[in-house]
Symmetry: C2
DNA sequence: AATAGTTGATAGTCACAATTATCAATTATC
DNA sequence: GATAATTGATAATTGTGACTATCAACTATT
């Protein structure tokens, strides 16, 4: 079974996670998760999405980092290095010089991200477990 | 006048910043600031310390990141790269594989940091304004 | 075509993190 | 040597952010 296959409706995902539907929509609005959307705009969550959400829950409830803090941490991900942006793309990218929200919350016109699905991007998926962002930095830095 | 000279007592610093003495001690306990200590153990704050504290206040009160969030962001600073640790030092350093608190909250025995004052270290001082940590990453990454 | 579930938006609730207050012991200053 | 300020530690207070509830309009399923 493919862990990336979007199979949970929002109410099923909420049930599995023990939170309300409204909370899942809030996480999305806050930029922490990007669920799959059917043609009809209906959200669908995969097994990996559930894991990501469990990680978010743990970060908020146990590690006591608030949502704004999580967003700022995600805003430190060096996507330009992960996907190897050109110098030109870096200069034209709103995200490169910002530090308030993750790259996938910016709209990417005129650069390499235009043709990619953020949901499937390696940068977005760097947050696949709670300690993975620093690991990313360890791997990328000389 | 030297902006690094420790001249403010804790009560004077609290007055300048408009917070209580107890709050300044909390920021220290939480790892956000390292004031100078006289031989008698009394805290003294420099002009740069005041600026750092103003930045912390702004981050908490305006940008709404909580203290745990700030600490986790500081815990992403790649000190090993800034001060160019040896591979051996990296492996032996508790901070290198952690992500819960900044390097200066770990005790550095058996590595290059042993002989340095964290208060004067470039890593600690990367947080000299509120957007400076991502800038550090931009500068360090290839 | 009827029921159940979804959408975005706004308003309300409540636990707890950020801050302040108080304590006795120690240190600075005049 | 007397007064004021500091130290670390613990207790009390309070503002607000995480979460829930409700709404009318729309979509899915049988």
């Amino acid at each position: 079974m493919n862990k990336n296959e979007p199979i949970y409706t929002i109410s099923n995902a909420a049930k599995v996670l023990g939170v309300s539907v409204y909370t899942l929509r809030m996480y999305e609005r806050e930029g922490l998760i990007i669920p799959f959307r059917k043609e009809s705009n209906q959200r669908l969550y995969s097994e990996n999405d559930i894991e990501r959400l469990q990680c978010i829950q743990k970060t908020i409830n146990e590690e006591k980092i608030n949502i704004e803090g999580i967003r700022r941490i995600l805003a430190l991900l060096p996507c330009w290095n992960v996907i190897n942006c050109s110098a030109e793309d870096r200069e034209n990218c709103n995200y490169y010089y910002s530090f308030d929200k993750p790259c996938w919350m910016y709209n990417h016109k005129n650069n390499v991200c235009q043709v990619k699905e953020c949901r499937e991007c390696e940068v977005y998926n760097s947050f696949d477990n709670c300690g993975s962002i620093k690991k990313k930095l360890r791997d990328l830095l000389p």
